[in-house]
Symmetry: D2
Subunit: 322 residues, 4 copies
């Protein structure tokens, strides 16, 4: 699939020579997302190297056919392109310093994490001094989607580099967009996440109302998905709201709290009122308070259900009074 | 397309004889929805009669090939099946009384309006006394969707009657579900509308944030629709949020206020907390207050934009101070 | 205490003769509010008659020194002024018809219930035809406050009648305001109730945050009441949020739902956005769902607490895992 | 007024010798709050020194009878007690370093700013190494209240030091509470601010509804203040919502955004759901977006009013159509 150019559509055909022939790809961060993308790149014929501080992650990666590097510096010297999938701004900055030192001039780094734009800019600047180029390329899709190559890449940064990386993007995603200036990728990702934060809860509200009326969540998902109320979250998270399906996390409540903070900060900085997003904040806080940290964000259904159900103990007491 | 049975799936094959051969259909209410459905039934080969209190609606219906009845009683005597598309509970009750008097025993009435279940039940009971059967069958889809037969029918009532009406449903919709007991259609419709109320506003929030960052709504709709934040509303109402697209109403803010009230009442009756739905209420009230009564519900974008923009007069004043 | 005139201040001194010498007062509705006001009027030297459909209410009223009437018609013939404290619009309309029939021309009726303005207007019109005057006079204060004469009367209707009733108002309240045209009393009451709906929940939010930090609600109420965050609700409902104090209802959750509906309708009619009021709706719905119908509205604290506490069963399970 | 002990009430009488005789007080930060408190301490007979980076602030301080220090280090050497009133965590940490260097062992520092507890703890630790003691003592009250000594001190830290400082607290406040361990002052302040954030908006909602009905805000404030809907914010900010009273800032919208962030973070950390606080966030963001940065937080009234008023231009257009 070719690059979709929306913000800066090129009017001429992309010359064949621009699309570079990268062969060796390095992964820093082999968590759920990283390992899934690495797997698809291997299938696509790339030689994939990888490093992760967790030994278990490294073992799984090796078992799947990857080349385990000693460390980030070692990896930087073995590959044409690095893909980062990191848990924090601190991890990104550490990585930036190592790649600036160890990486060859001209090395391209595809940064896919969801982090503050300012932190990504700082990392970019550190690397730029040594001729290493960072591209801001967050992903749309869960771990499950990554595994079946159902990801979309929100690429941003130098247009030429994005074009050159087309075959790499194609190796682990179903589509990629060139969104223009560095940081636009994260902006689009924050917009997507704002919608995800809301649609996850709207799904819970609708399904809870239906459940009260005796309509099973699975029935409601089937009937509603195709209509005016349909959404990707209804399809993906709706089924997880039945039978405690949230126990299989595709996005943990605790990790999601970081994403919530990024969106809230972006809205405050941009001075944009977002009443529905704001109304989701207490529900995710509540999910944390109720012990759902390690569960999927679909657990907001449990929060709403607890808010509208007579606790068992009380129910029994009331019964015994009669 | 055959009936999708979700709540009460029949275990035996539907015998061919059950699907009745209705030939003449009557419409009470020839507004945007009614006239669009009537047009599709004519195309499907039905003889379509119709009545509406507005003379202009009757003229348009005649011009499109319909048979104009003198009144509801007249219509009831000329058709096998009546389809009602009415603006209020009062209109439904008036209609119920006329059909109970004039309609033959065994007449089937497909009630497609969005009204309180209690009002529909009262109408059903009035007709049942005279052997006329009312089915609660709200629709998912806008006027524009009705025109291109892109409707879904949430049918509820006697299962046998729903099966017998299959060819009629197929004449004006892309799919119909048998949702079980009378009233379940409206319940599913209220769940769908709760989602619509929320996703319309979530779309406005995301697009406004993007606009602040210089990302055009049309670009955002294209990129986001396919991802985790995607929804039918983003696709349908998103484009209407650019260039005052809300001026072409597919659902007027003033009419929507009635739907909002039905959802709010349903939530209170079912004792279900729905924080995001609640957060949409002030925005639709605001749209009314700002003079958007006759505009599309997509005008909530204008409400949010006005909340975050320095009014021109003030902006000029501030400028002149420097 | 004399009448406080705010909306239509009279420029001339109120002549002594205007303040009428009413001696016999009749109560229709001897619930918590009615019986408390009746008691204070007796203490103030009035002869107080009363009727209530509940025999227990009549007995208590008799025991407290009141004259029990046979019915509303009987009562209307024995008194100078009637005070109504009724549970529903239906009860008011029934009462209006009886008083229009049985009451003498010139009878004054002080209507203190919280009901829709349109319903009060209809009752007023029925009585006006027979020369009976209804005044719209809702009260600010709970049953506990009524008992200690700590009520404020929001009087509205003919200015002269309000002045003539001064001694009656003084007999059961600490202050009364002449707010102008009939219905303005209810308008002020709806504004007060909007604030009550919100401040009750804001109190719960602040006290729950404090409790998480180990600060007892009673400590927080003491420290915060005097400061910028202080409110009447914090003082009155705050202490009820500790040790399940909500079990002693001063305003039942189930009754409050009616008040909530009146406010929501008023906001929709006036096209006024009220995001905080909207955000309280799910919490009162949740309180109903959790079985707090008969508890005080302070039970919203329990709703929020349940939203942020690991349920015991789960907590034990998690413990046993370690 | 003596210390109110709530969290850790002492069981023995406070010996007279504990209340120290401090004579010279130093102020770091001579803004609205600092200069008002300094003035009251002078009136109470203290010798007051002060420093502020702004020369105008220093001049005003000198004119009011204060001793201007060269810098923070100079000030630290001239006084018994330092009171800090600072705009940011950075300013506090800088101050902490200077006082740790320059201050004598045993110096007491009363920290009155609204800042993150973690930042205050860091400052405390830096000073503790040099024997300087920081007390966390945020204030309840606006600049206007500070001027008339209408402040409450939420003191926290070593109980003995709080007792020793009683005469100083009494010199600039009407009451002070010993709330226990360091940081409890800020916790109580955050609870107060959560209530302020909400009650400011609830006031705007009620007054806007009244205005729509033709009830002037000043009338509503008078009638409602004494009743169940009353709050300090209604009394203080309500009058500022008429005639653009928000243009005289007692708390600027832009400064308030920092306080909002502290509350939001505290709720997330404590895992407490606060739906009403969350619903205020978009309104303060909107106030920023609408150009109210330098106006008082009472400007949320303007946000809501703009949300419910037909813009003039549109209104005229609609008129001309008729």
């Amino acid at each position: 699939m070719s690059t979709k150019k929306l913000v800066k559509p090129s009017k001429t055909k992309t010359p064949g020579s621009v699309k570079a022939n990268f062969e060796r790809i390095g992964f820093l961060g082999l968590g759920i997302m990283g390992s899934a993308m690495a797997g698809n790149l291997m299938k696509a014929g790339f030689e994939v190297h990888g490093f992760d501080p967790t030994s278990k992650a490294r073992q799984l990666f090796k078992a799947s056919g990857g080349h385990v590097s000693k460390d980030a510096a070692d990896l930087a010297q073995s590959v044409d392109v690095v893909i980062t999938s990191l848990p924090s701004a601190g991890a990104l900055m550490d990585t930036a310093r190592v790649l600036a030192q160890a990486g060859r001039k001209g090395l391209l780094v595809i940064e896919t994490s969801t982090l503050d734009i300012k932190d990504k800019e700082a990392a970019r600047d550190v690397m730029a001094k040594k001729g290493v180029t960072l591209l801001d390329c967050p992903l749309s899709g869960t771990g499950a989607q990554a595994a079946r190559k159902d990801l979309t890449v929100y690429a941003s940064g130098p247009a030429l580099d994005i074009r050159r990386l087309a075959s790499v993007f194609e190796g682990f995603s179903k589509a990629h967009f060139d969104l223009g200036a560095f940081g636009n990728g994260m902006k689009m990702k924050l917009m997507a996440n704002l919608l995800v934060a809301i649609h996850n809860v709207s799904t819970a509200e609708a399904l809870l109302l239906g459940q009260r009326w005796g309509i099973k969540p699975s029935t409601a998902v089937k009937v509603l998905s195709d209509g005016a109320g349909g959404s990707r979250m209804l399809q993906v998270r709706g089924p997880m709201m039945e039978n405690e399906g949230w126990k299989e996390a595709t996005m943990k409540i605790s990790v999601w709290q970081k994403d919530m903070k990024l969106i809230a900060q972006a809205l405050a900085d941009a001075q944009v009122p977002a009443p529905l997003f704001a109304a989701t904040i207490p529900l995710y806080n509540a999910a944390m308070g109720m012990g759902h940290e390690a569960n999927d964000t679909a657990a907001v259904f449990d929060v709403l259900e607890k808010m509208s159900s007579i606790p068992k103990k009380t129910a029994l007491k009331q019964k015994s009074k009669r």
